[in-house]
């Protein structure tokens, strides 16, 4: 069908001058449209954690922001996250979706909303939604349905979005996370209100002159999960960590690449403040355009300060229900649109799609095939005796965690494996800008390396040399030891010979040593190691050297 679609689509271009490649035009004078331009810099949650911009103490203390008055207020934060599912084809047609494809190259009559075209649900969307629902500890609706959410916008080809309204596929769950030590640490549970399936919209591309806009429908119809949190968060950091944990979860489940810069994971946050002790919520403000975890955290903290300041100046009534935009450059939120009453989306059940019926067997089969979630992994690593810092590092990235697990499975010492991964291997990846899947070292060889050092076949120093060889070129530990003749010298006779040779070649230093300059021992040890080409067992070497040095005194 895809080839049919491709050729037929070309016809429609020829027939319709308005369908000019790359996108349809519509004319516009005032720049009133909101456009998301993605920044090119890339950033991960881990990197952000290593460079925290804001430190906020845990919730047990009152929030402290730049403003002292804030002691009297507490913020209430909820997040709506849109996760783009990485199914092979879109939700309701057979078009693939690849981020960054030239405009309108991955479209068909269905996702363009041509007259007569009908949606047919991709069953993978259900499967992924069930996976996420289960992983978020939600209750699944065995009978759910799709609804139409209606509004006009040029990036919405049908004039309605196929979504789920009153019966979402999953409700009432929670997300566990461990806050990094630098943010006060601690284990948190944030509530999940609901998870529902829907389709993404296209994108508007605005001309530089601002005189016209174009529509790119590549993204239209890409499946999304909207995950709505309970208003359980109190600080920007908590919100950012919630988002990072969601990203980790969808990556662990393999349902999304979770990339914020590409818009595969998008967070809209709702922030309100209230005097401490008040149970009623304050006026909530929505913030959009958050393209990284740090912008989530900074935007929220800015917004809290802004609202606290207004309150403390008796201008609380100036906090209105509105959507504000985070401006990365200016590091502030600005009004995007005021909400004039509630938008009426005129939801009604989507008549083109049958109801979504899940059987218990189907759900059970998915539950049984769920991979270990980040939370389970962290608890397991903790039980293995690792520090929380180590646990968070290893479990942060599914690929690192899998590398670690595979190394342990080959019998490697847990602590040593952790040290190697967090130390030299991480440093190498950072320098070379590689992911753990791109390095040439495989877990089996890391386990072998650790065993070879522990067993005394090679020294730690040689081990390090071999590691870098393995990281860059691959190969096996045994092969490299053999090839480079790196087996540790543990024969005392051989070491003794080398010691004697060094002592004989350095009579002056020997005299000085014996004259009391005992710190020259290090110098001799180095020389012997050099002669052994680094292979001498250090313990044995030192023992024999000491004996020889002290023999005639």
């Amino acid at each position: 069908m895809s080839s049919m679609m491709a050729s037929t689509f070309l016809r429609s271009i020829q027939n319709h001058p308005l369908m000019l490649y790359p996108a349809a035009l519509f004319i516009r004078k005032k720049v009133v449209l909101y456009c998301t331009m993605k920044s090119t810099e890339s950033q991960t949650a881990t990197q952000e954690k290593q460079n925290p911009r804001i430190k906020v103490p845990p919730r047990t203390q009152t929030i402290t922001t730049t403003n002292n008055v804030s002691k009297d207020y507490e913020a209430v934060i909820g997040i709506e996250t849109h996760v783009q599912l990485n199914t092979l084809t879109k939700a309701f047609c057979s078009c693939p979706y690849n981020y960054g494809s030239p405009p309108n190259t991955s479209v068909c009559p269905i996702c363009m909303g041509l007259p007569g075209a009908l949606p047919v649900l991709n069953s993978k969307v259900i499967e992924y939604a069930v996976k996420v629902g289960l992983a978020l500890n939600c209750k699944l609706s065995l009978n759910s349905k799709f609804d139409r959410k209606q509004y006009f916008y040029p990036d919405l080809p049908k004039g309605y979005q196929i979504s789920q309204f009153d019966v979402p596929i999953a409700t009432g769950g929670y997300l566990d996370l461990d806050l990094p030590m630098e943010f006060g640490g601690g284990h948190w549970k944030f509530g999940i209100t609901r998870v529902h399936m829907e389709e993404d919209a296209g994108k508007l591309l605005h001309s530089e002159s601002g005189s016209y806009s174009q529509v790119d429908l590549n993204r239209a119809g890409v499946p999304l999960l909207e995950i709505v949190s309970e208003p359980d968060m109190r600080t920007g950091i908590e919100a950012a960590e919630y988002a990072a944990e969601l990203q980790r979860l969808v990556r662990y489940l393999g349902v999304s690449n979770g990339n914020m810069q590409e818009g595969s994971l998008r967070c809209d946050v709702n922030v309100s403040i209230r005097p401490i002790g008040q149970s009623q919520f304050g006026t909530k403000v929505e913030i959009k355009n958050l393209n990284s975890f740090s912008s989530v955290s900074r935007a929220i903290d800015f917004e809290i300060s802004r609202q606290v300041q207004l309150h403390s100046q008796e201008k609380g009534d100036q906090i209105i229900q509105e959507t504000r935009l985070w401006e990365e450059g200016a590091q502030k939120t600005v009004t995007m649109r005021k909400k004039e009453g509630l938008a009426d989306y005129r939801y009604f059940p989507e008549p083109d799609l049958p109801g979504v019926i899940l059987t218990k067997e189907y759900v059970d089969a998915i539950r049984d095939s769920l991979p270990e979630a980040p939370e389970m992994k962290r608890r397991r690593y903790e039980k293995m005796g690792l520090s929380m810092q180590d646990v968070l590092f290893l479990a942060n990235d599914i690929n690192v965690a899998q590398f670690f697990d595979a190394t342990i499975a080959k019998g490697a010492d847990v602590k040593l494996a952790t040290n190697w991964i967090m130390g030299d291997i991480a440093a190498y990846m950072k320098n070379e800008k590689l992911t753990i899947n791109e390095i040439k070292l495989v877990p089996r060889e890391l386990a072998e390396l650790i065993a070879s050092i522990k067993g005394g076949t090679i020294s730690g120093k040689i081990g390090k040399e071999i590691l870098f060889e393995l990281l860059a070129k691959g190969g096996t530990v045994k092969g490299l030891i053999k090839e480079k003749d790196l087996v540790q010298i543990v024969d005392p006779v051989e070491i003794e010979k080398m010691v004697e040779k060094v002592l004989a070649e350095n009579p002056q230093q020997l005299e000085q040593y014996r004259g009391g300059k005992t710190k020259l021992q290090g110098y001799f040890a180095g020389q012997v190691m050099k002669v052994s080409k680094g292979k001498a067992n250090p313990g044995l070497l030192n023992k024999i050297l000491l004996e020889k040095l002290n023999a005639k005194s």
Binding site: L18, F26, I27, L33, V215, L353
Partner: protein, 536 residues
């Protein structure tokens, strides 16, 4: 061939007050031998081609000639592809010459309602908003027809997006009824019904959301079939009310209608609401009239819906329908009057649901990607101006009604309530069809009325759908076939009998309809416009 095309007014077959064509009735004015019952044009075309009595080009030319002569009076078509038709006919003749196998619809000229997408012809849905729009794909039903050798002759006129009961709500032209060109052909598939009635094509596709196939079939004296919801793929049918829309068939005989239904039915992976049910070869069950026993429908339980013969229904229509019921009894059926108490609730429920869905389905006509766009300074004007200019008054009325019914605060009172009524109606039909094999009723409360008569009175026009909308709400199949005449026009006006069957039981409906049709004596449903013409 069409020898002389006379003005319909000069034709003189005028019936007495109304004529019941039954086994015993006499044709009132005819002195010639009684006309034979309608035969399958599809089968005779096939026979002509295989026996090489006529070439496909000759056959096509004969229909096109008639089309050229009648079209100025009727205006059934919005687009005719004469050259393409003749090209395909020539290709078919080459295939015949080289003894290649022919598809079951080889050489059959099919007209397609203009709200059904065709890749090689414009598809406007009868709306200015899509003027000149050429879809990049064929509707599944059209593709199936082409795959079986059928030739699409053109696109037929309709009420804009199927919203209307007269075809007067087309943005482009008003189609006339071949029985009396001062009257409406019914709607919304008026062009497709008129085209079959005037033999401008062999069979045609229509769509039926609330009666849009059955009402014009009744008005134009042709056979019209509204299949079970899900029997035929809706892919490529411009959506009006998705939960009610079906593509339906027109033919000049029950056999042709059944053959066409068989061609377009079946599951389609492009339509999630299309059914997996097996599709029987409907026409293969048709017995030749010579082989019928005296009571061929013995034991068939027929329920005549009492509420459809109430006040507001023309006396002439009631008489003809009662006559049809007697005819069924003579064929061996046991006919009983039954009551569907929820029947009258169907009309308001239908108009709420259909308008609600249409307000959503028509949102895509925003001028951004296709169709007519009115350049504007800002977005809301672009939408507003493009839609204000693109849609006609009836479409706007339904969009407004539907938008209102779905609005916050009104949803429960209108949409939700209408859905509850729908469930009730479905249950009452289910109960009635447990007791009866088929239900019968008129297809419309009157015969064709004058062009312009109800144009400014939408409520009167909506009321004309009373006989048909319940069937869409229940998702059931229904066959309408000519059963008699009432006074009007030069030769009387045809009246259609509606037979409603259980879900997916089109086979039984067609079988009963075929026997009914073949045994109805002295009634020849060829409109005066082409009366002296012999169909090949």
């Amino acid at each position: 061939m069409l020898s002389t095309l006379q003005s319909p007014r000069s034709l003189s077959r005028f019936p007495s007050r109304y004529t019941l064509c039954t086994l015993t009735a006499q044709s009132p004015t005819s002195t010639s031998p009684p006309p034979p019952p309608p035969h399958s044009q599809i089968l005779s075309i096939r026979h002509s081609l295989l026996s090489r009595r006529l070439s496909a080009a000759q056959l096509a030319e004969s229909y096109l000639t008639r089309l050229r002569l009648t079209e100025p009076h009727l205006k059934s078509f919005l687009h005719v592809s004469e050259d393409a038709v003749l090209q395909q006919a020539h290709r078919l003749d080459q295939m015949i010459a080289s003894s290649e196998e022919l598809g079951p619809l080889a050489g059959v000229l099919v007209a397609v309602k203009d709200n059904i997408c065709t890749a090689d012809m414009p598809s406007t849905g009868g709306s200015r908003v899509l003027e000149g729009y050429l879809p990049p794909f064929d509707a599944t039903a059209v593709r199936k027809i082409k795959d079986l050798g059928g030739i699409v002759v053109g696109k037929t006129n309709l009420d804009e997006f199927g919203m209307g009961s007269t075809t007067e709500a087309s943005a482009f032209q008003v189609t006339a009824n071949p029985w009396d060109i001062s009257r409406v052909p019914g709607g919304s598939s008026g062009g497709s019904a008129a085209a079959v009635s005037a033999r401008q094509c062999v069979v045609s596709l229509g769509s039926d959301t609330g009666g849009s196939v059955r009402l014009p079939a009744s008005f134009c004296g042709v056979v019209g079939l509204k299949p079970t919801y899900g029997r035929v793929s809706r892919y490529g049918l411009m959506a009006y009310a998705s939960s009610l829309d079906v593509i339906g068939c027109f033919g000049s005989s029950v056999a042709d209608t059944g053959i066409l239904l068989h061609a377009i039915s079946g599951h389609d992976r492009l339509d999630a609401t299309s059914s997996n049910r097996e599709v029987p070869d409907f026409a293969s069950r048709f017995d030749s009239v010579d082989l019928l026993e005296s009571k061929p429908l013995k034991g068939l339980r027929v329920g005549l819906i009492r509420e459809t013969l109430d006040d507001g229904v023309d006396n002439g229509v009631i008489s003809v329908i009662r006559g049809a019921a007697s005819h069924l009894e003579e064929l061996g059926c046991s006919v009983t009057e039954i009551s569907l108490p929820s029947f009258s609730l169907g009309l308001p429920a239908y108009y709420i649901l259909a308008s609600s869905e249409s307000s959503s389905n028509l949102s895509r006509y925003d001028g951004v990607r296709y169709g007519n766009q009115v350049a504007a300074d800002e977005l809301n004007s672009l939408y507003g101006d493009s839609r204000a200019k693109g849609f006609g008054p009836e479409v706007k009325r339904r969009i407004l009604t539907g938008t209102y019914a779905l609005s916050a605060g009104y949803y429960d009172a209108y949409y939700k309530r209408a859905q509850q009524v729908r469930t009730m109606i479905r249950k009452s039909f289910k109960a009635a069809l447990d007791e009866n094999d088929i239900l019968i009723s008129p297809a419309a409360p009157s015969a064709a009325y004058k062009i312009g008569e109800k144009k400014d009175d939408p409520l009167a026009m909506y009321a004309g759908d009373i006989m048909t909308v319940n069937v869409n709400l229940a998702g059931l199949p229904a066959l309408v076939l000519p059963c008699g005449f009432v006074e009007g026009g030069a030769a009387g006006l045809p009246v259609g009998l509606q037979m409603i069957g259980a879900g997916f039981d089109e086979e039984n409906l067609l079988k009963v309809g075929h026997i009914f049709e073949q045994t109805l004596e002295n009634c020849r449903f060829v409109p005066p416009l082409i009366e002296h013409d012999d169909t090949p």
